[in-house]
Amino acid sequence: MKSFLTLLFLLTASVETVQAKDTVIGGLSTRNVSINTTFTGSDILIFGTIKRGDSEEIVLSDIIIEVFGPKTNITVRRKKKIFGIWVNSDPIKINNSPSFYSIVSTNKIDDILKKSEQLKSKIGRTQFFESKNSDSNYIEAITAKLRIKNKDGYYSFNNPPVKVKETSLFSASISLPANLTEGDYKTKIHLIQKGEVTNTSIDTIRVRKVGLERWLYKTAHNSPLFYGIFSVLLALFSGWGASTIFRRFQ
């Protein structure tokens, strides 16, 4: 009888959750990051609150925050010894690889989100291996990519963690490195309850070169001939200027 009542309670509770679920409302300290000449990286504060639904039951909630840099196609190569020297070989292409990735959470991801759910929702490390390609070389290349990106500070896993205040307010600081790629950085705040993703809030941080940086980059790519001639003239002018100035001093 007792177990029947519990079951009944759980059923009604879950029905209510469907009607008005708990949701996550997120915010960013900034939506625009400008790369100027003196750019040395940027810390973004991601914060938010868990908005309780109609449910009477207070479900234990966790938060996972992910930040993705713009996607690029990359090639991973392995060094092989050929005629005594180390040569890059065996190129493996990885498409749509985010240039930056950071994941932070309130608790260890494996403790709050089931493995199968991590795979299904494409959250964390597993998403990088998500592919029809189960070739051992391919998996090795992806493992190497994660290792190198992690070492160079472009990928980080669970560091530092999300801080929680008064059970429903949370915040986390994400550091964007100095050597940043321009583009749109997508942020995802996942609400995790009972080992599953119940709600996700998505936002975008625009990372743009500005001023001189922007002008040089745009010109180099949009009018390369002009840029090349400009660079040469700049060099000729400085060469001439230098010799003139130093002759004055002699």
């Binding site: 790369i35 100027n36 000449t37 003196t38 750019f39 040395t40 990286g41 690029t72 196609n73 990359i74 090639t75 991973v76 190569r77 392995r78 060094k79 005594g84 020297i85 180390w86 040569v87 890059n88 190129p91 292409k93 240039s99 290349a141 190497a144 990519k145 290792r147 190198i148 990106k149 070492k151 100095a178 050597n179 940043l180 790629t181 070169k209 001189l212 940086e213 922007r214 040089l216 980059y217 180099a220 790519h221 390369p224 001939l225 840029y227 090349g228 001639i229 400009f230 660079s231 040469v232 700049l234 060099a235 000729l236 400085s238 060469g239 001439w240 230098a242 010799s243 130093f246």
Partner: protein, 305 residues
């Protein structure tokens, strides 16, 4: 103070870059070399992508060679006709070099090619210079005169002979043209001016008088590196104007300091010193090729078409 380089997409310390420019500038002022063969590997060492280092260094050499050539023009120490033939070859060589560079960049072997070229050339030049200046020191001690260069060699039997008034020569245009081609390829692939190859070649193969050699080679280098810069900018998008201007800034000041320092030291001592620097850079680069790497894998972002 950090500065973000827009094309290299790396943030570097501004004083480190200007300092490197000044250091290489001092050496080039002391030894009368362009310094590209030292600067490009140093840029690799501080984390500038090799493709950007090579292209940007070509741009810097435009400034330093122009600055140097102006002085030689004033003294009429430039053989324009010879310079033009070297230049024709140079332009052809640079086009070939940039094309090779582009293909290797696409298949991910640029680093290997550039490093190999450096190890081979720095190794050869460094050892030659080292032993030559060693023997110069011992010879001077034993008071023997250096042997005179042979005036008639295979070079004088080639067709297409031309008269070069400034150099006081009547020789075939073929050797200078091919020296130009070789130097052009090196300029594009290694990010150097190529003076360290061209100057000995002009003296020993063509037989030009020493007083016009430096001016003429600088004249050729201005145009070949300018052309290489434009080629790299249009083919590979790898010229970083911000990096170039910082290097130039340090370089011009350093070169003036170097010239004054150079006067105080004896030529053989200078050359031994330079050869040791060249050989150590060569050794460092060779180690990277020979030693088992810590990380077997490398990542490269595909070039956007």
């Amino acid at each position: 103070m950090q500065v973000y380089l827009p094309i290299a997409e790396v943030s570097v310390n501004i004083f480190l870059i200007i300092g490197l420019g000044a250091l290489v500038g001092i050496l080039s002022g002391m030894f009368g070399v362009g310094g590209g063969f030292l600067m490009t590997p140093l840029l690799f060492f501080i984390g500038i992508p090799p493709a950007v280092a090579v292209a940007t260094e070509a741009n810097q050499i435009v400034a330093s060679s122009f600055s140097g050539a102006l002085a030689h023009f004033k003294r009429r120490a430039v053989d324009l006709k010879m310079g033009l033939i070297l230049l024709l070859g140079g332009l052809l060589g640079a086009s070939v070099g940039v094309y090779i560079f582009k293909i290797l960049k696409e298949i991910g072997q640029v680093e290997l090619l550039v490093t190999l070229c450096y190890v081979v050339f720095l190794g050869i030049i460094g050892s030659l210079m080292f032993f030559e200046s060693l023997s110069a020191i011992t010879k001077r001690n034993s008071q023997t005169k250096p042997s005179k260069i042979k005036r008639h060699t295979w070079v004088h039997r080639l067709p297409l002979k031309m008269r070069f008034r400034t150099s006081n020569l009547y020789i075939s245009a073929i050797p200078p043209f091919f020296i130009g081609v070789l130097v052009g390829i090196l300029a594009a692939v290694m990010g150097v001016g190529g003076g360290f190859i061209m100057v000995p070649a002009m003296i020993y193969i063509i037989g030009m008088p020493t007083k016009v050699v430096i001016g003429t080679s600088l004249f050729q280098i201005i145009f070949v590196t300018a052309f290489t810069t434009i080629m790299h900018a249009t083919q590979n998008y790898t010229v970083d104007a911000m990096l170039a201007i910082l290097l130039i800034l340090g370089g011009v000041v350093g070169a003036q300091v170097g010239v004054r320092l150079g006067v105080k030291l004896r030529a053989e001592q200078l050359r031994i010193l330079l050869s040791i620097i060249v050989l150590s850079v060569c050794f460092k680069l060779a180690l990277d090729l020979l030693l088992t790497p810590n990380e077997y894998f490398s990542i490269m972002v595909d070039v956007k078409k």
